[in-house]
């Protein structure tokens, strides 16, 4: 998985002018981004009254996702940490306002003003510690806490994300729950490696009929999404539950390899023609405890 941008460099460095340029020149990237943001907007489940809303795009980048919001008639503003990406957004003359900011430092917004938030492929960046002063846990806490405050009651936030592994997914989910959100993961095409997409759907405010309350053990991220499961058969949604296997105990109980084993290995190497130290009384002798 070395192709993941998260492991290569911090976002403000990875998305430099060259990388940002791809977002205007590659029709493939543009198409994927547009699809993701359309689905995110769908999951946002804004009231069906046709009223334009004020939305927030976290990690807006070059404004591709914002464009989808504009097309649907909403007002939005976006936050991104990469100046190069925002420059591209300026060039594309997106309709929303842009802010240069770091979501891990929390969103500086007035409470209760935003009708909904989307974020496309951004939140997993929070799990990285790119500087010594970064602590992913503190950054996730600051982010979700401030997001919870600035959303209107009952508003939703939808994050499309690529968690690196199960632990990362659970970390993100648990901090979202701790901030007071209700909700869970929605997975589109869970059986396809390429089309599989994960969305974290969060609802702000006390649980009600309209919010999908995670079932199970509350904070640990065992959650089901019920009302999000769309009727469309192609877009299957499933529950994610803890699938941690117990760690192999083998390593912990083993006492170490004996003299017999070492002699056998040395003999093997000798037969292969390698240079091997002679067998002496010191071979495989236990070290003194003070060592």
């Amino acid at each position: 998985m070395s192709s993941r941008p998260e492991v290569q460099a911090p976002p403000e460095i990875f998305y430099d002018d060259v990388e940002a340029r791809k977002y205007t020149s590659s029709s493939r990237i543009m198409e994927i981004q547009a699809k993701l943001s359309e689905r995110a907007l769908e999951l946002l489940a804004l009231p069906d009254d046709g009223l334009p809303r004020l939305l927030l795009d976290i990690g807006c980048g070059s404004g591709l996702s914002g464009e989808t919001l504009s097309e649907n008639g909403h007002q939005w503003f976006g936050l991104d940490i990469s100046q190069s990406m925002l420059d591209v957004a300026l060039e594309r003359e997106v309709e929303g306002d842009l802010l240069l900011g770091d979501m891990g430092q929390g969103l500086g917004l007035r409470p209760g003003v935003i009708d909904g938030a989307i974020s496309i492929s951004a939140v997993q960046w929070l799990c990285n510690a790119d500087r010594t002063s970064h602590d992913p846990r503190l950054r996730l806490k600051a982010f979700f806490g401030s997001l919870y405050r600035c959303l209107a009651r009952g508003a939703r936030a939808v994050f499309q994300l690529y968690p690196e592994n199960l632990a990362q997914r659970e970390l993100i989910l648990s901090f979202a729950m701790r901030a007071g959100f209700a909700g869970g993961m929605v997975v589109d095409f869970p059986h396809s490696t390429k089309r599989r997409k994960e969305y974290l759907v969060l609802t702000c405010g006390p649980p009600s009929i309209s919010t999908s309350v995670p079932k199970g053990k509350g904070e640990d991220g065992e959650s089901c999404s019920e009302d999000e499961s769309s009727d469309d058969e192609a877009e299957q949604t499933v529950c994610i539950s803890d699938r941690h296997r117990p760690r192999k105990k083998q390593k912990l109980t083993r006492k170490g390899k004996g003299r017999e084993w070492i002699l056998r290995k040395k003999e093997q190497k000798r037969r292969r023609g390698d240079e091997v130290p002679l067998d002496t009384k010191y071979t495989a002798r236990k070290r003194k405890p003070r060592f």
């Binding site: 046709g50 009223l51 334009p52 809303r53 004020l54 008639g73 007002q75 503003f77 936050l79 940490i81 925002l86 420059d87 300026l90 309709e95 306002d97 842009l98 802010l99 240069l100 900011g101 770091d102 430092q105 929390g106 969103l107 500086g108 917004l109 007035r110 209760g112 003003v113 935003i114 500087r131 002063s133 600051a142 401030s146 600035c150």
Partner: protein
């Protein structure tokens, strides 16, 4: 940056209790015409902190807004026009936003405010 966004932003520095409203330092303002959407204006009106909004509009050189406003004003087309103009058409292109408590400057370049905090502020 439009005044819509300015009205939502507050200072995020650690220890600042009331970071709203950010003061505006103007170097350059541009106007971009956009279509008026009365539904949006009615919807967003209750969320606008009017005092800060009128003050900010004055700072950008637009003094047509009334000092106080309530939702009964929304029936008047004249008011909607002014509201729309100040909210969505005035852009702060160059300048700065200033935290009301600490005086920290957030520079605005090409219409993008730089809200990145230093390590000791976060």
């Amino acid at each position: 940056m439009r005044l819509l966004t300015h009205n939502m932003l507050s200072s995020n520095i650690k220890g600042v209790a009331n970071g709203f409203p950010l003061r505006i330092e103007v170097e350059k303002v541009v106007e971009k015409k956009v279509e008026l959407n009365a539904d949006f204006l009615r919807n967003i009106f209750p969320k606008i902190e009017w005092k800060a909004f009128a003050e900010a509009a004055r700072t950008l050189g637009y003094a047509e807004l009334p000092e106080d406003a309530d939702s009964s004003f929304l029936g008047s087309d004249d008011f909607l026009d002014k509201f729309h103009h100040a909210l969505l058409e005035l852009h702060l292109e160059e300048g700065a936003l200033i935290c009301p408590e600490t005086g920290r400057r957030f520079p605005v370049n090409k219409g993008i405010p730089n809200m990145l905090l230093h390590e000791d502020e976060g």
